[in-house]
């Protein structure tokens, strides 16, 4: 019997894709379907696009003999989540012309547009390209958008750390020119040598790969949820280097005990840019060579580490980079939140963090957030930054223009929106889920806001209104909104039902635990009511809800 490893079908597709070209061109020319060919659906992810369909209308359309309403989601590559105002204006216009209109800030500091029909993909990418924006490698089995602590007040050397995000992103880009060739009609004379990809070869990684950079004491990026987490070590306003953590990842699969969320392990310290970049590169190379390529559910770096052991991994890494990692430096995370409202940095520039519920920038009957942001962008006086908590920071505003921006924010009631949202609402996050995400088992961003309203009432009843509790919801176990490190995590199991997880901390250094399975809304509220009551009476000095729940778990719930 042959012992040959049974590769997953995606491996074959990658290998035979001719540098991520696949048959995308042919797929685009197919006039009878809004979908692209099945194999191309895997390839197109590397170009930052996901094929989706409106699941709400599947049944109705099937009756009408109409195919599913296919459209595409495009995700931008925005290392450290930064846009100049004219780029925001362009995005606003592209969203209006080619997508649903809503601009979605993701949990990884970038922007997504949804509902782009097949025939509009090219015009969309062309328009982004005119604004020097691209979507290369924001999905697929490759390094994704590199995220970085977002608030410049964090540290005077923030700019320096930001620059790392760009460098890492650049270093880990695929070498193929397929993106330019397919979407931008670049008639490049393809020299095979130019496209030779030493890192990704023709197989790319076994699975997606995420990198985050955190600047303590804020862990707003959830650094431990990433395949590689860099923790900036700063002393006396000098960047000494980075602690390197590896093997984080939150996705799991219901009913598959071999899958689990895992937080990254700190393996050492690098004291220079060169060493840090080299270490990152080689972690990817090891994962490329040793990652599981037969079962995609077990293909993230965390499973490679679990299989070979962290010690082996470190040895392999050190032998590849040719130097020893220094022992990890000490660091301290205190929180992982956004600083809403106005803050000034060390250079005197002003920053306003706008609360954006679930990252959805759009106009609704209550507030015209999207219009307001367009007006701000048109002043040309503020840059746009996005946070891993799906909020938006109007950035780098000179003192003399602060009042103009403030006036705009006030006239559109954005300040009210930001100030008056409750503590739990501002700490909450949900993924897209239904109706477009093909993985969703339950609602996410369409449902959480109304659930939060009900939880607010409960908290108010218990006199806990001001409590900062991190609540996160996903429509499936894949963990996009990082529910496994929330104090209260909801993980969708089926329509209207969620697993309730409890016990994460404020700093993002502890996974929560499954408390109750498949609860409907009524049961969720009953459980939370009991828990809040216990919390109110049983909490210890200044204890957070997550810490309280964790202590209870250890004592009673086992």
């Amino acid at each position: 019997m042959s012992q040959k490893v049974n590769l997953s079908p995606i491996e074959k597709i990658k290998k035979e894709s001719h540098g991520l070209r696949g048959t995308i061109r042919e797929s685009l020319l197919d006039e009878i379907t809004g979908a692209i060919r099945e194999d191309d659906q895997a390839v197109i992810k590397f170009h930052g696009l996901y094929q989706q369909d409106d699941r709400d209308v599947r049944e109705v359309r099937a009756k009408k003999k109409l195919d599913r309403l296919y459209s595409f989601m495009i995700r931008l590559r925005l290392p450290d989540g930064f846009l100049r105002p004219e780029q925001w204006i362009a995005t606003h216009e592209i969203a209006g012309e080619h997508s649903t209109g809503a601009i979605k800030i993701t949990t990884r500091q970038t922007l997504q547009l949804h509902g782009i029909f097949k025939s509009k993909i090219k015009p969309t990418i062309e328009a982004f390209n005119r604004s020097k924006l691209d979507s290369i490698a924001t999905c697929g089995d490759i390094n994704r958008n590199v995220v970085c602590s977002s608030h410049p007040k964090q540290s005077p050397i923030h700019e320096k750390v930001f620059a790392y995000a760009d460098k890492i992103s650049e270093m880990l880009m695929p070498k193929t020119k397929a993106y330019y060739e397919i979407w931008l009609d670049d008639q490049l004379i393809i020299d095979k040598k130019d496209e030779e990809d030493l890192l990704y070869q023709d197989r790319y990684l076994p699975r997606k790969f995420k990198i985050a950079i955190a600047i303590p004491p804020n862990n707003d990026v959830d650094v431990f949820a990433n395949d590689i987490g860099l923790i900036a070590i700063i002393e006396n306003d000098t960047l000494l280097g980075f602690n390197v953590a590896i093997g984080g990842g939150l996705s799991a699969t219901h009913g598959n005990g071999d899958t689990y969320p895992r937080l990254a392990t700190v393996i050492g310290f690098c004291n220079s840019e060169e060493k840090t970049l080299k270490a990152i590169y080689e972690v990817l190379a090891i994962q490329r060579d040793f990652g599981n390529r037969s079962d995609r559910k077990l293909a993230r770096l965390k499973y490679t580490i679990a299989k070979y052991g962290i010690r082996w991994f470190k040895d392999e890494l050190e032998s590849r980079i040719g130097f020893m990692l220094e022992p990890a430096r000490s660091y301290q995370f205190n929180e992982r939140k956004d600083f809403y409202g106005w803050y000034q940095n060390d250079k005197g520039l002003w920053y306003y963090t706008v609360f954006v519920e679930n990252g959805r920038v759009l106009d609704n009957e209550k507030v015209r957030l999207k219009s307001a942001m367009l007006v701000v962008a048109k002043t040309g006086k503020a840059n746009f930054r996005f946070t891993c908590n799906q909020n938006l920071i109007l950035s780098d505003i000179e003192e003399k223009y602060k009042i103009d921006i403030q006036n705009i924010l006030e006239s559109y009631q954005i300040t009210t929106l930001t100030e008056e949202a409750s503590a739990i609402r501002k700490n909450s996050m949900a993924c897209v889920a239904l109706n477009t995400c093909p993985l969703a088992l339950a609602e996410g961003q369409r449902y959480l806001p109304s659930l939060i309203t009900k939880i607010e009432l409960l908290l108010d009843n218990h006199g806990l209104k001001e409590e900062e509790i991190i609540i996160r919801m996903t429509g499936c176990p894949n963990g996009c909104a990082r529910p496994y490190i929330a104090e209260i995590g909801f993980v969708g199991t089926s329509s209207g039902h969620y697993n309730l997880h409890l016990g994460g901390d404020h700093q993002g250094q502890r996974l929560n635990k499954l408390y109750k399975e498949s609860l409907d809304e009524a049961s969720i509220l009953t459980e939370l009511d009991k828990l809040f009551s216990n919390f109110k009476s049983g909490r210890q000095n200044g204890e957070s809800f997550g810490d309280f729940a964790f202590r209870q778990q250890r004592n009673n719930w086992s």
């Binding site: 049974n6 079908p9 006039e31 009878i32 379907t33 809004g34 099945e38 209308v57 599947r58 049944e59 109705v60 359309r61 099937a62 009756k63 009408k64 003999k65 109409l66 195919d67 309403l69 029909f117 025939s119 699969t253 219901h254 009913g255 598959n256 559910k297 088992l441 199991t493 089926s494």
Partner: protein
């Protein structure tokens, strides 16, 4: 080759025939030739199967399409259908039924299979004639692996159906198992250990213009909700049907009840009063409801009315109610005179969009809701609204209208079908028919409408036909999806080279849809293509085109 007496008889026969009759005989003979020659091949015992799939990810669909084309190659006639489009009541009529179904979430059927699943679980069925097999797709990492397939398999068996092959469960790497299952099924179907099904007789019965009573089985608006259009796919059941693709049905619509009632009220007349019209006696209600055209009277009728009431009436189209209201009669007795000048309701024709071979005892039509503006008011067509408003299971009268000018050529000929909007209707029948008879000629469809997402009539059927190879090529033009308008003729010009190639190789070309401007533009484009690609002068192109018409290779059904 023929003996002299036979030859003579043939020559005598041919001498007195019209061209249409000759064309018909030509088709008839080639039909005989195809049928008899295929009889000599060793055909599988089972001639016809249904392959139905319930898919969430598309895997079951892909397999189903693959198997359908394999079965076809083996000489078996296949009906391929998604379970959510499968008419559930048909299950009791099936003889050979293969179900490919995945399991989703916690042992649940995929959305597309939900109705089917419920149907077989909630109804006690008699499936003694059914032979079936189930291919279940699933994922062993879920506890209720292949639950849906398992349930369907058990349920069908409990209703007396017999398995042609045991239930096959497949994990995520399903290809090998699935193929083995299908090989097994095919083998059983060809060996003939099974009872013979009654073969469907495709015999053409004598033609007659007789009235049928049809029952509405299904009525679906094919346009999605966001569309500005309404196009109804209507399935009608009737017995003793005889028709061929290309034929139409004729329907005499009834007048809307509210209009009839308002006329009765205005005239203060008893609806049961009997009047004679064209030497037959009717109640006034029946006359107004079913016999007389009282909406949008033609100018000639308005003129006659003016003569009777002796008033000046400007020449316009107006309905009876307004006429009576604005230009009243001298007395009610005059109404009898008015009835005499009214014209009967004329039948409307709708191209048949089904093949009798695929849908026995059924006829399908594709009806666009007709909207037009008259005197600055929006009106709806009488007949399209009449049909649209007929509830499911209600009955109405219709007849078959033969269209000998719009017939499929012999099986080996290629055809090009140009049918934007409801013009696609006869081509649905063409494709179904050619698919069912296994015609070897290639089939190319041009379709167009306003928007791809909401106006692509019969999209999933067309996709399935492409998957199984029943359609060789499809091009679509959606006029309002981009700043510049794109129509079918633009797509034809885009495909000029290949189109000319098909025509030069003897393809037949068919055009159906609106007369003006569509058919004019399409014909001009055709001439242009022939001229440019064939390097001909304008005159040469015209004579090329004329020859097409002469050879019966260009047919149109435009309105």
């Amino acid at each position: 080759m023929l003996a002299e007496t036979k030859l003579k008889t043939l020559q005598q026969l041919v001498e007195n025939l019209t061209k249409e009759e000759l064309i018909w005989i030509n088709g008839y003979l080639s039909g005989i030739v195809t049928t008899s020659s295929s009889d000599q091949l060793t055909k599988p015992v089972v001639g016809k199967i249904t392959i139905a799939f319930g898919t969430e990810t598309g895997n079951a669909k892909k397999l189903a399409a693959d198997f359908a084309s394999k079965a076809k190659k083996a000489g078996i006639n296949v009906k391929l259908s998604s379970l959510d489009q499968y008419r559930l009541v048909d299950l009791q009529k099936e003889e050979y039924f293969l179900a490919l179904v995945s399991t989703h979430g916690d042992g649940e059927p995929p959305a597309a299979a939900k109705n089917f699943y419920q149907y077989i679980h909630e109804n006690a069925l008699q499936l003694n004639n059914l032979h079936y097999s189930v291919l279940a797709l699933g994922d062993t990492s879920y506890p209720l692996f292949c639950k849906t397939g398992e349930d369907i398999d058990n349920k069908l068996q409990s209703y007396g159906a017999r398995r042609v092959a045991p239930l096959q469960k497949c994990d995520t790497d399903f290809e090998a198992d699935a193929n083995a299952w299908f090989e097994n099924v095919l083998k059983t179907l060809s060996v003939g250990t099974l009872a013979n099904g009654t073969p469907a007789t495709g015999q053409i019965k004598t033609r007659s213009k007789k009235n049928h009573t049809g029952t509405i089985l299904t009525k679906i608006n094919l346009n999605d909700t966001i569309s500005s259009k309404e196009t109804y796919h209507i399935e009608i059941a009737a017995s003793d049907l005889t028709y061929e693709p290309g034929d139409s049905i004729g329907i005499i619509p009834e007048n809307p009840l509210e209009i009839v009632q308002s006329v009765l009220q205005l005239m203060n007349l008893d609806e049961s009063k009997r009047f004679s019209y064209k030497e037959q006696a009717f109640t006034l209600f029946d006359l107004l409801k079913k016999k007389l055209n009282i909406v949008y009277l033609p100018e000639r009728v308005v003129k006659k009315y003016a003569d009777i009431v002796q008033q000046e009436i400007p020449p316009t189209r107006i309905d009876l109610f307004n006429l009576l209201k604005i230009y009243p009669l001298k007395d009610v007795a005059q109404f009898e005179e008015i009835i005499g000048i009214l014209e009967p309701i004329t039948p409307r024709l709708y191209s048949i969009s089904s093949s009798l071979l695929v849908h026995p005892d059924e006829v399908h039509v594709t009806v666009a809701r007709n909207c037009f503006t008259l005197n600055a008011e929006v009106h709806h067509g009488l007949c399209s609204d009449y049909l649209m408003n007929l509830p499911e299971n209600s009955s109405f009268e219709f007849y078959i209208h033969k269209n000998l000018q719009f017939k499929l050529p012999s099986a080996d000929k290629d055809i090009i079908m140009i049918g934007p909007g409801t013009g696609v209707a006869p081509f649905r029948a063409f494709i179904e028919e050619r698919d069912a008879t296994g015609a070897s000629g290639r089939n190319w469809l041009f379709f167009g409408d306003q928007h791809f997402t909401c106006d692509f009539l019969y999209q999933t059927e067309i996709q399935n036909h492409v998957l199984t190879g029943a359609l060789t090529k499809v091009n679509t033009a959606f006029s309002r999806d981009q700043p510049e308008k794109i129509y079918v003729q633009d797509k034809m010009r885009e495909q000029a080279e290949e189109l000319y190639e098909w025509l030069s190789a003897g393809a037949y070309i068919y055009l159906c849809g609106s007369k003006d401007p569509m058919s004019v533009d399409v014909e001009n484009s055709l001439l242009e293509i022939v001229q440019n690609v064939g390097h001909k002068t304008k005159e040469q192109a015209q004579s090329f085109f004329d020859q097409l018409v002469e050879e019966g290779r260009y047919s149109k059904d435009v309105y």
